[in-house]
Symmetry: C2
Subunit: 226 residues, 2 copies
Amino acid sequence: MSNKIKSLDELYQLALRDIKGQQGSIVIYVANIPQVSQTNDIIGNSLQEWLPAWFKDNGLELQPNKSTQKFPDFTAIFEDDDNVEMDIKCWNADNTPAFDLANFESFYQVVYNSPDKIFAKYLVIGYKPNKHGFTIDEIYLKNMWEMTSNTPTKPINLQLKRERPYAIRPYNFSRNPDSCFEGPIAMVNAIRQAVEIYPLETELPFTPDEWYAKMVRVIKAKGYDK
Amino acid sequence: MSNKIKSLDELYQLALRDIKGQQGSIVIYVANIPQVSQTNDIIGNSLQEWLPAWFKDNGLELQPNKSTQKFPDFTAIFEDDDNVEMDIKCWNADNTPAFDLANFESFYQVVYNSPDKIFAKYLVIGYKPNKHGFTIDEIYLKNMWEMTSNTPTKPINLQLKRERPYAIRPYNFSRNPDSCFEGPIAMVNAIRQAVEIYPLETELPFTPDEWYAKMVRVIKAKGYDK
């Protein structure tokens, strides 16, 4: 038996065991002379680079999605298990999470053709900057609906650009996990409502109701009823 | 006698001797596990952080300009010499330099009150990304007028934002050093012309001609005639 990561849950358990609470740092070498970075704004990007490299060291290859427009970023290639669509998100846990969960329009189209991507998993890492770098404070393995919610003005937390829906953003799931969507059906219903309110860039060969019906069918087949 | 850097020229010579041609890399550690960064877009920012830290190790403190709007970024504090206003710029030497030399409007205002800042020095580093990080390929110590020029459509290489002048950008000085401005007077004349063509955000208590006359006076007093 190899020591390779065999499932997304094993990956999550490994992360909890080996990196939660640990210190991290970014060191720049020139001519072998090291200097520790004090700049907070490269921590997130650096972590997003470190994690897939570390998973690879532990036998799990993450295949990047070839199209950068497509959702989600990676497919985790397991030897003895199904491949799993997944994404990695990092945020400064001194602040409210504000990363993009997905590009709205791309997500809406992609899941119509590949409804299983509704169940794409997010490995989410909350770091806190400190004097020498950062610590890894929070680690989650979540579905999209466990991280977003409606807002006072919108059916789902949508970032708009020039009046068009641009990205699905998180709710403060880390502080209030119970105020996110109840389940995937509540989320796809909110997305249908958002498409009815905000016009999309592209004309699509299906209506919001057809989209919703297809999503609900697939979600119920997976055993969810909310 | 200490080993401290005593002038900007010593700093330049040290950089040429110790880092030109050298390999650099960026390593991210989490829980002491290192992974080498493969992302090109953090090299410039990382170098811009490494250099002042390395100068400090060599006894030269760069005092950051308190206002981020102001020009230039640093004052070099020399023990036995005058303090010198300076900036550090890094660019990917596989491409044409495209960093901002200065915010146009801030530069225009700041040098009216502190004309010596016209002579602020730029330490400019050209790096080339490679498999394990980057190499330091080019190092220059230059004045602003040695790095920019007019363009086919503008008296000086100006980046516009919403029709307003935003930043002074470099000419490809690394490939064609002789096609930059002949000297500081040619540059301030070009800036005066640009102010006459492009309206500024702020109303100022001096005219472009008054600004130009003051600059020329100070520049000639330093012995330049072009």
